[in-house]
Amino acid sequence: MFAYANPKRFMDLSGPFVPWLATAAAILLVVGLYLAFTAPPDYQQGDTVRIMFIHVPAAWTAMMAYALMAFSAAIGLINRHPLADAAAKTAAPLGALFTALALVTGSLWGKPMWGAWWVWDARLTSFLLLLFLYLGYIALWNAIEDETRAARATAILAIVGAVNLPIIEFSVEWWSTLHQGESILRKGGPLIAPVFLWPLAAMALGYTLLFFTLWIVRIRTEILNRRLRALQMGAA
């Protein structure tokens, strides 16, 4: 794995991959949006069910991004690998964006369905904590000037914060909450009708591929900027 993790190899290998990934993400999102607005209104939730097609993918991507960030940070911490540090660092702002989108769309769904923009229940509170973990992680990177020390300190924060992921996931089972329980990846199959499942699947995959596209481009930017800094330091 580390043979491919050399920054130079990464630049060579990821370059041709980006346009394909971006195209696949765009196609899935267009198809997903079409299906999302041609699906019938839900018999209980009416047209607000359409918010699900952007809320659930944003929340899923936000959690996946955190898991990937914590994993990269751990690799960086254990193996002192600069590419792993760059991967963790560049995932954070994207993860924060998807978290914010999940919170805003959730709020816009909560108001008409629950009668409240926000409730301090386990799922929502743990998800808000996810946003603060991302923001804290970004702030810590910016606060420490030395790259190696910053990578180490932020890695510890990212790994400790990963405890929040299972808390978010199981919050709907462990505590009584307004938020609905697991209804897609569950024993006995999904609880959602296929007419809602297809747009949700297309959007979830589209969001995932969009995240990977943006993440790879951000890692490439970080590698270029590091090379730039090294050249400037050499010239000075």
């Binding site: 009416g46 047209d47 359409r50 994207l94 914010a100 816009l108 108001k111 930017t221 270029l224 730039l228």
Partner: protein, 51 residues
Amino acid sequence: MTEFLAQGGYAAFVWPAYGVSVAGLVVAAVIVWRSYAKAKAHLAALETRRP
């Protein structure tokens, strides 16, 4: 069309949710791409100046 825009009376929630999501993702994509192009151009300029 009017019916579509009304979203069964939930237009005030459905459209802002989609608006915020599309705007957020498009702005992020533009920022990510611009910083990449900028870094690439800077590096190219610096590398051509050096033998």
